[in-house]
Symmetry: C2
């Protein structure tokens, strides 16, 4: 039995069960690939309105897929799941500083915590491959997040620049990538920029996460809005408490990405 | 000078100024047609999370375009505007009953009131006409809202059926209408149903608003999700206080609808 292949083909419920049982400790990118991967953001109730306001005003960075009531940890998108245990690794940020990484939020759970689930670029991968875009382009082997000079629309205490992810397209792939991803606003939609990274002020030398920017010969960099923008705005505002997924440790729900196309 | 033509061609800011000055007392459908018309919903702060949760879970009925902080009445979508005075007529609902209609919310304004702006089907009109759909189809002369048997996704105290609007398409218009409106989730997106109204349990004899359903010969009824669904869910939950626009009295913002296409 090929465990890696089984993991790729797992259902979302199987993937959550694996994670909950502590039997999956790595990144979730290759887990339950046919299903939607989301980015959970957990904040105290008095921060949820600014968070939602920021996401509503910057929907390409923070596409809201679900909002739970204060204290709730189960969503109809993942029946039987528990957001607190079904994420491989949580980061805890206090007053803008990383103060811990945990595999289980239950010990620190409080009735005033509100969970928001944001779409991720993982939602684009299946539709792009189905449209014939090469795996090398879709699964960029040098994933990264870069700060840009593009401002977001502020919302109360939240503001800051857009951060972006990147894929390197063959010239003949560009139009298809724009067309296909534009149908998935829940996956950050179409690229925010194509071509010269300097035009949007990308700092490719100092990635916020991942690899420095190196555009392979014959390729065009395409840049996407990114949920990191939302997290950075929260952290910059030094909110007292925030839990978010460690990079690459998404929450997997029972939707296929195609359900989210417009 | 043709006042009606001037009104159609007015900018959003001019339209808001007309309304604020009490110089426009009718429906806003023909006012500032090149701009986005939104449906404002104002609730006490302790009802805003369920309202947002319901809209996030039923985005085709309640596409969220803006959220204001408690007590705020100005949005970046309408600089210089005041949501309280720039709507022709507000309805006030208390515990699920209509208790008043006012042209100015300022006398009853409170610091705990939160405004959410939802997209409306008006957003679809310009793009549909630009795509060659006849004005007779787009501007249905028998507008109405009907209850259906389609359930919404509940959110805390909020639940209930979907309500729908209708347009009557020529057979050769149907595909274009689906294609064009699908690009505008902010305008309720593509139809939720085409053809036999009985299949979704439409009660065409007793419209919730407007005309009984009569499908003209040679036409196919297309049904759209509708913000009325959100208002009915709120009213059914008997929230203590709610302000919403009187039917046809939208809040006009500085965006052209094309900016909202995906």
């Amino acid at each position: 039995m090929d465990a890696a292949r089984d993991a790729i083909g797992a259902t979302a419920a199987e993937a959550r069960a694996l994670i909950r049982a502590g039997r999956w400790s790595g990144l979730t990118e290759t887990l339950a690939q046919r299903f939607v991967h989301l980015a959970p953001v957990v904040v105290p109730a008095d921060w949820v309105l600014p968070l939602l306001q920021f996401c509503i005003r910057n929907p390409s960075a923070g596409p809201i897929l679900e909002l739970l009531a204060p204290g709730d940890w189960e969503t109809g998108l993942a029946p039987g799941g528990d957001i607190r245990t079904d994420v491989v690794r949580w980061q805890i940020w206090e007053a803008g500083r990383l103060t811990g990484e945990v595999t289980d939020l239950r010990p620190v759970w409080r009735e005033d915590l509100v969970t928001v689930l944001l779409g991720t670029s993982h939602i684009l991968a299946g539709p792009l491959k189905a449209a014939g875009i090469s795996a090398e382009t879709v699964d960029n082997p040098r994933p990264a997040i870069y700060r840009t000079a593009l401002p977001t629309q502020p919302a109360g205490p939240l503001s800051g620049p857009h951060f972006v992810t990147v894929k390197f397209a063959r010239p003949e792939e560009i139009a298809t990538i724009f067309r296909v991803t534009g149908r998935y606003p829940a996956g950050h939609g179409a690229p925010i920029h194509a071509g010269d990274p300097a035009l949007i002020g990308v700092d490719g030398v100092h990635p916020a996460f991942g690899f420095p920017l190196e555009v392979p010969a014959g390729r065009v960099p395409l840049f996407w809005p990114c949920g990191f923008t939302v997290l950075e705005a929260l952290r910059a505002a030094r909110l007292p408490w925030l839990a978010c997924h460690a990079p690459g440790c998404t929450f997997i729900v029972d939707l296929p990405p195609e359900r989210l196309s417009v």
